[in-house]
Symmetry: C2
Subunit: 428 residues, 2 copies
């Protein structure tokens, strides 16, 4: 098995700083162990044999009839599926039947912009479209509003066949969506108890769209299980998740209130978006937290690296790299007589991409800026499973170090209530 | 003409704080006026009649033969074109001939990932593809490496017809690309002297791809010209660019080292990426600067708003809103018996999106967090021209307030040199 590799050599942290918080670290480790039973997301690599088979059966039945899968979901219901699709399928998957191996196109509607939704509905052939509605509570305004539009449209176009075009992923017992699904006869999958939105990528929320796009969900979970073993190592600086969290925690204490995730691979681009929710929403509370920033190499060398190298020393950069990009392109020796570009000839695009990552690491380190690197030998289901799981454990562990509950989000209630009032929802 | 509207009511800035820096503001205003001649990008709304006609003629000639335009460019050569395309054309433009009114598909290759580039080249029909190579210096490693791959491919597939499939936008006199274009007989457009990458959206760098996608580039420049007038107002708090810069400058002095741009419209999503380069690369130097963060409403209400409301008070949020989204969708009254979603029925998606923006503004303000709002009556060429131009002037003015040169990027040299060394470029 290929293992993801973390390198912390360029973090500006002294052993003495780690020693100073040894007691806190010990408490956090104990807490992670004692609370393991409450963290239901930690069991997802192990306890889903039945649901995996159910997903695969459902996909096998539906897939031949479906030309487009449209996910109606927001937050964790969208970010994990987008990140995984980007990692494991072609960037031009939706453009070309051959590139997608006959699997349905995937669209994720994670916003309520009426122009986007109107245009998507205009492009789709409803007869061959499946809508996957994802909301644990069944009360997510954006997702449920989209669902109401889609339900109406399907019923007016397809009549009694409409329910075959809807699948729901929601709580097994509570909320509107499970009630509606029961009444309408929709196929349903469940978000397990104790699995919150941003920790839901390894349950049916993430597994169902992945399976529809030909992604091997068993291998994904196997990678997560391997990482779970590494994340039980009490030798904390050799525990990838604990070490990641400890170094971020110490950086926060050094007033580094920003963490940049900078993949150097288009495949890993949207891991930065998924991580931004995980880290931002879990830890951003009680006046604490660190603002996650999404970057992309080499693209953002021409946008953000000037700031990272020469601006304030207020951030960590986490590079996400890959040893193997899955394809390679040779740069021909076309302009040997022009020194400022001729040197590129004879190399490959992948070499240039990897060398650019090393160069940015070097430039940051030389400027005294903390950075760390996570390297995937190649971007596969297994290594992605490792990466998702490692970052989830790291986030939970950082919450323990900070003394906050990483699993709630009290700060979003005020805004929700304001919408309810504006729309005249009774009782608000 | 519709004017964009800025609202600063929710910025936590006292008049006395502005009064304290009155001298600095006066100096900056004078400096902007005396340096106007050096800022060639400020003249772009006025001095391009000839080149506009040349672009329109070229598009009229090529467009019927071209099914895909591929921009090879990075940084400002990519971010502006992407932002404008997203703003003015459908999000599903590339998916559907009808949605794009017969104009060619647009692909922007702003990274060197070999998997992405291989897959794109596999999807394209070279016979009907035009490659637009954009590099002022002609020495941008990423763009020139892509160009070398594409040139080789075109020549091996199309032989003597290859040059008809390449158009270059570069410096008129200096650099490799203008030399190569001359030798090969490529069509060329020019980046005017004194117009740097991140200030190039209103020159052929931005105008050429826009015109190929049916965007009215004259209206874009007319909007910029209107904004230029507003940006000459010496009554600085009524000058949108100056006020934007002053409030950001004061926020930096309050240790708000982060500025979030949060559009509440999919059309405006990539303005946050364009602005991130403009603000980050122009002002992030000498240990100063502010880290730009890209968000999107309502999507990021389910990812980042918890942090913005309840995390550290270390940021400004700049909302970008639209009064008119260009389309509307009615939410049916489907679930009147379910209070937590029934209240949505009878409203529109656009209402929900606008109400969500107001609610997030309210929640931030209630939590004492600084935020401001830029509203476009509708998203048109004219209002986009206003927005691009306003933010460019604001950035230049902020540079003056900070006492730094907003137009260089010394911090990226170290990384470039490291790549040259790694690849054995002579002299490095």
């Amino acid at each position: 098995m290929e293992k993801i590799v973390l390198n912390f050599d360029n973090m500006k942290v002294e052993d003495s700083q780690i020693a100073e918080i040894e007691g806190k670290i010990a408490d956090a480790i104990q807490s992670m162990e004692s609370k393991r039973g409450e963290m239901a997301w930690r069991d997802l690599p192990y306890n889903q044999d039945a649901v995996i088979n159910e997903i695969l059966d459902y996909v096998a039945e539906k897939s031949p009839k479906v030309n487009a899968l449209v996910v109606l979901g927001i937050g964790g219901s969208a970010l994990g599926p987008i990140a995984l699709q980007q990692a494991l399928n072609s960037q031009f998957y939706n453009h070309d039947t051959q590139l997608r191996g006959g699997y349905p196109r995937l669209f994720v509607l994670d916003n309520i912009d009426p122009a986007t939704m109107s245009d998507l509905l205009a492009v789709l052939d409803l007869e061959t479209t499946l809508f996957s509605v994802v909301s644990k509570s069944g009360a997510t305004s954006e997702t449920m509003a989209q669902f109401m539009v889609v339900k109406d449209l399907l019923e007016s176009h397809l009549g009694l066949k409409a329910p075959e075009h809807i699948v729901c992923t929601t709580d097994a017992k509570n909320g509107n969506l499970i009630k509606i699904a029961g009444a309408e006869g929709y196929k349903t999958f469940y978000v397990p108890d104790g699995v919150g939105g941003r920790f839901s990528q390894l349950c049916p929320v993430g597994l169902l769209p992945a399976a529809f796009c030909g992604i091997d969900i068993k291998a994904l979970l196997a990678g997560a299980a391997e990482m779970d073993k590494m994340c039980q190592n009490a030798d904390y600086m050799n525990n990838p998740a604990y070490a990641f969290a400890i170094l971020h925690y110490l950086a926060m204490k050094q007033n580094k209130n920003i963490t940049v995730m900078m993949p150097y691979s288009d495949k890993l681009k949207f891991m930065a978006d998924w991580f931004a929710q995980l880290w931002g929403e879990s830890l951003g509370k009680q006046g604490m937290g660190q603002t996650p920033v999404k970057a992309l190499g080499t693209t953002d060398q021409h946008s953000q690296v000037q700031l990272y190298v020469d601006g304030p020393d207020d951030k960590i950069v986490v590079f996400l790299g890959a040893d193997d990009f899955g394809s390679e392109l040779q740069i021909p020796k076309t302009f040997d007589d022009m020194p400022s570009i001729g040197f590129l000839g004879g190399h490959t695009m992948g070499e240039l991409l990897r060398a650019s990552q090393k160069a940015t690491e070097y430039a940051l380190t030389k400027a005294g800026r903390s950075n760390m690197t996570i390297t995937l030998p190649s971007v596969t289901e297994n290594t992605m499973g490792q990466l998702f799981y490692m970052l989830e454990v790291a986030t939970a562990f950082a919450g323990e170090l900070m003394g906050i509950n990483a699993f709630d989000q009290p700060g979003v209630e005020e805004g929700k209530n304001a919408v309810y009032r504006h729309f005249g929802r009774p009782g608000f």
